[in-house]
Subunit: 356 residues, 2 copies
């Protein structure tokens, strides 16, 4: 009797067949069905036939909830990103998802909108779902209650973008300080002396702080006077960054180059400088950070520190899965991966010339 594509209803509700109905249909025990599912070789060839037929007929699909409950594992990883509006996190997530799927892991996603209190809630949710591990970017990796929870609960996790300084926590990132140092040194080599940093709120991103340190180091090492960084609040979607750049109208108030803590900021700055009647790179050179793909599509192309976002995600997932699966074996290895960055040279930066 062939019942393929025929659903079973009870009181209007569709009944999703379980291993139990399959067993009944095939005339075997549920254990046998389970065996076929998990270790096909352990059942005889003709029972296998019967069971497969029943599975087909009923449209059976294993229920991971039951499996996970039993196994105490979920083959699911949680991901916590600050936002998906910033391409870097989307790219990273893309890398995570791809690598996860290759390994038959699923991905549960949460976003925090850069709110530190939401980090905790996000992780709580993931823990309630019993994810096997978490990939996340936090506000401050060196003082994070959220990470402490993860440690205490001994849930494997890997930080992305965060580069913990004082603590030894598994992470995948570029060397933010060194990358910023390289970018600023590049500007200095081109003759720039008045270089200012434009950043989001420092308290919302430890990476921005590390990049600022790289800026400072480059300036000091070349005997240049660091300028006060410009800190703009988030949700400066419109030209609110505008008000922070007003001073630039006065040439003497204006840096010759602006080092931005991320590309979104860099692009906003370019637009707002333009609105102020200033030209990039002629009046101000712009250096970004992240290396988002779109930076290369514009004119002038954006100079930026390129970090391999998709790779970061992929490596984080691989590291996490390794940790999860070794955890069974006992010994945990904490690995901090620093991936190489590149200073991408684009048209938004030009050598400094005094007679401009």
């Amino acid at each position: 009797m062939r019942r393929h594509d025929v659903n079973v209803y009870i009181n209007h509700y569709i009944v999703r067949p379980s291993i139990k109905q399959v067993a009944l249909e095939a005339g075997v025990s549920i254990a046998t069905v389970s065996r076929l599912l998990n270790n096909p070789d352990s059942v005889s060839i003709d029972t296998a036939g019967k069971v497969n037929q029943a599975i087909e007929a009923l449209g059976f699909r294993p229920n991971f909830t039951g499996r996970n409950l039993r196994a105490g594992r979920s083959r699911t990883v949680g991901v916590v990103v600050p936002t998906l509006s910033n391409t870097v996190f989307a790219q990273c997530l893309q890398g995570v998802e791809l690598a996860a799927r290759q390994r038959d892991y699923s991905v549960m996603l949460t976003a925090t909108e850069y709110r530190q209190q939401d980090e905790a809630a996000a992780v709580e949710l993931l823990l309630a779902h019993r994810v096997d591990g978490v990939i996340l970017t936090v506000t401050n990796a060196d003082a994070s209650a959220t990470l402490d929870v993860l440690e205490r609960e001994q849930i494997p996790y890997v930080l992305v973008y965060n580069q913990p300084q004082e603590s030894t926590r598994p992470s995948v990132s570029v060397d933010n300080r060194a990358a910023a140092y390289d970018a600023v040194t590049y500007l200095i080599r081109l003759g720039h002396q008045r270089i200012q940093m434009l950043a989001g709120q420092f308290h919302a991103s430890d990476r921005a702080i590390q990049r600022y340190h790289g800026y400072l180091q480059a300036m000091q090492q070349h005997n240049l006077v660091p300028l006060e960084p410009i800190e703009v609040p988030r949700h400066t979607n419109t030209s609110l960054a505008f008000e922070y750049l007003q001073a630039f109208r006065n040439p003497s108030q204006r840096p010759s180059a602006l080092f931005c803590s991320n590309d979104l900021l860099a692009l906003s700055a370019m637009r707002d400088l333009r609105a102020l009647g200033l030209r990039v790179p002629d009046d101000v050179s712009i250096m970004g950070f992240d290396g988002i793909p779109l930076g290369e599509l514009m004119e002038p192309t954006l100079s930026s520190v390129e970090q391999p976002s998709e790779q970061i995600g992929e490596l984080a997932l691989r590291t996490l899965v390794t940790t999860i699966e070794e955890q069974q074996g006992g010994h945990l290895v904490v690995a901090s991966h620093i991936l190489p960055h590149t200073v991408r040279i684009g048209g938004s930066v030009k050598p400094f010339t005094s007679h401009r």
Copy 2:
């Protein structure tokens, strides 16, 4: 006895406390613990105290796997996007995640990289996880085996970006045809006559086809000769689009305006035209589709059909949750939501002048 922050180990393995240990610790039955968790008012004030104390002491966290197995629901929705490299999908996902969290739903994510066979696998995975519903963008909403599976299994789903023509399937999108029509009509009003469409592979996106129909309609209605659309393969990351635009060197071969089926393509085209020595908008006007935020940051700003991606995601989630929760009540309402689009006017388009 206070045991907060003290983990319980058995053979090196951490034991995550269950409702059972909490009950033991508090000296009540597991039912009481469950009640406190789900309906705090139904337990006496002092038992509540004891139980809460036990929960605190043990660091208990409810296990959704058990709960879900029992309930037959997961309070989780699955999302299937073609890719996260395209900002529109990331934005949409952002909208979904935000709205989901507000309603205490979790999000499980999968990507297909525009491979139709991966759509099926993605949905299978989500179904195995017993998600309560699915939000997805498919290659072709009118002939999708994946959607048929969803229908047959009676899993609530909502399409995003897809705008089914022949079938009546729940969806949230703009009116692609009308939007394209509006964009092209705008170009025509500006005096353009040789308008060509630049698209990704049509077979990979029903939206692109609908937009092409809008293009055709606008051209025909204004008695203009439609040009053969240019179809570029995906993963034209570098300047492969280049080869498709070579003909543009010859002014007589060149349209005065290019209507692109998405913004990524539009930006790539702008770059490649530039590389060809052509100026935008002076030599060729460019109209995009999607209205990605970055389009407004560049110079010239990108003219584009703006669709409210984050809203699309949010509304899809809301619709989905409504469906999920009404499903209990029986009657299903299939709703197709068409959200308003806007032709965003930017500097990449200028009126056509013959003496250029």
